[in-house]
């Protein structure tokens, strides 16, 4: 018996750690293609950039943990899966045999067709951006999503001149309602960030970014955060089905019973949305890993954790529970002016997601409500005297 995990990110690490916590005794091999022991990515675009956190704070466990837990770390890229022989090939030419294979290959940044642009996903990339940020004066961030806005906030904290360029008409379009986008725009602008919406980059030179005939911004550092693409090639070449990610069932298993896939690279049926979803989050990676570890030790259960996410920008803490995709109604609880409010998303009359800004109790109540497939009416959600906790029995 042996488990081989391809991908040394949050999900890959968690499978190994959870397997040992579940009492799994056989061989565990964790293959990662970065020259670091497994680390968490969330701090890279936050505390790490401003120098509040170092590499050792990002490391999920110290090196000694892997030895003590008999988890073999291999730094290599897997190049092929031989499903018949149940073995993988590494770029070194080496082969590793498995009884169970977990694909936790993650995702990679989408790239712009321009030079002189930096991207942030790995520790190595974050370290380079941190160094360049220290020397920069004018920073241009392309992409007004989580990563772009977190980088913009870090750069402002470091007193840089910051411009954010977003192609859509509002910030974080893919994940939040207009009221939340607007709040974040106003907060970034109040901090001195120049936000350009509906804007497209035409050219990037050594020292400026050109948007149109008349619009240009000085830039000695350009960072783009324009989304990711799942790493599915290994699965595709092995003949496994791939949609918007490696396709797995509710047990996170591919049609090959010896192969699972989790995290950013996998698409699975959701209890909270009608179609399959592929989520890019710590929660998703960790909970899916724990689910698979249980399955491997003989306690399979369908995956059904409530999705949740967070972003920190300046002192604004946004926590999201559920999936707002396809929402048709939104109500606000609390006054955005007070800097503490929550937004409740409804789809066909049913609560599907809640965003909480500096209102952690609402967020936790929302996780419970959505997990219980319970709902509160829009009127109850709006009414601050209504106790959300009473709606979950």
């Amino acid at each position: 018996m042996a488990v081989v995990i391809i991908g040394g990110g949050q999900g890959g690490f968690q499978i190994a750690a959870s397997l040992r916590a579940e009492g799994y005794q056989e061989r565990i091999t964790l293959i990662g293609d970065e020259p670091h022991i497994p680390y968490q990515r969330p701090p890279l675009s936050k505390g790490f950039l401003v120098g509040k956190q170092e590499q050792r704070h990002a490391e999920l466990r110290p090196a000694a943990f892997y030895e003590a837990q008999r988890i073999t770390l291999v730094t290599a890229r897997a190049t092929a899966i031989d499903r018949l022989a149940r073995r993988i090939t590494l770029d070194s030419g080496e082969h590793i045999e498995y009884d169970t294979l977990v694909l936790a290959t993650g995702a990679r940044n989408r790239l712009l067709p321009h030079d002189n642009v930096f991207y942030l996903r790995t520790l190595g990339e974050a370290a380079e951006i941190r160094q360049r940020l220290a020397a920069a004066n004018d920073v241009v961030v392309i992409g007004g999503g989580f990563i772009g806005l977190e980088v913009a906030a870090a750069a402002r904290i470091l007193s840089k001149q910051v411009t954010v360029i977003e192609g859509q008409s509002r910030l974080m379009t893919r994940v939040v309602a207009p009221v939340v986008s607007e709040y974040f725009r106003s907060q970034h602008e109040a901090k001195g960030v120049d936000i350009l919406l509906n804007a497209t980059v035409q050219r990037i030179s050594d020292n400026e970014v050109l948007l149109g005939e008349r619009t240009r911004r000085p830039a000695d550092l350009v960072i783009a955060g324009i989304g990711v693409a799942p790493n599915v090639e290994l699965a595709l070449e092995a003949g496994l089905p791939v949609g918007n990610g490696i396709t797995v069932d509710e047990y996170l298993r591919t049609p090959d019973e010896h192969i699972f896939a989790i995290g950013d690279c996998a698409e699975c049926p959701s209890l909270y949305f009608e179609t399959c979803v592929r989520l890019e989050s710590v929660q998703n990676a960790v909970d899916q890993a724990a689910c698979i570890a249980k399955a491997i030790v003989g306690h399979p259960a369908p995956y059904g954790a409530v999705p949740w996410f967070w972003t920190d920008q300046y002192d604004i803490h946004l926590q999201m529970a559920g999936l707002p995709t396809g929402f048709d109604q939104v109500v606000t609880r609390g006054d955005p002016e007070s800097r503490k409010f929550s937004v409740f998303y409804y789809r066909a009359g049913k609560l599907c997601a809640v965003d909480s800004i500096n209102r952690p109790a609402d967020h936790l109540a929302a996780r419970k409500l959505i997990g219980a497939h319970a709902t509160v009416s829009p009127d109850q959600a709006k009414d601050e005297s209504f106790d959300l906790k009473t709606a979950v029995s």
């Binding site: 969330p42 710590v282 967070w310 109790a361």
Partner: protein, 107 residues
């Protein structure tokens, strides 16, 4: 460096030098102390770094913020009056001698 003592539910005690500025959670995780999971990596999002702070050490700590208070409502082991999330306990020189107990379970 301040010395922090972690005592497991089974009574196993470990004392570790933890740098000022790190958190009580980081001191545990970086030194392989069992009983602190820290699934979310120290972002006050998961309540798996729950500890019971020894009474005599309580006056050393800053009061908790709203998010820690809310998150403590979701701990796997019962919340008590001396419950804290160790990722929110940033170590200062006065923490020397701090004693925390890890709960029976974090998940």
């Amino acid at each position: 460096m301040p010395k922090i003592t972690y005592i497991s539910d089974a009574g196993v005690s470990r004392t570790i030098d933890v740098p000022v500025g790190d958190t009580v959670m980081e001191g545990a995780v970086q030194n392989g102390v069992d009983g602190i999971v820290a699934e979310c990596g120290g972002n006050c999002q998961c309540a798996t770094c729950h500890v019971y702070v020894e009474e005599k050490s309580l006056p050393l700590l800053k009061p908790m913020a709203e998010d820690e208070d809310a998150m403590l409502e979701t701990t796997a082991s019962p919340r008590k009056s001396n419950s804290r999330l160790s990722c929110q306990l940033h170590i200062t020189p006065t923490f020397d001698g701090l004693v925390v107990h890890t709960p029976p379970t974090q998940q």
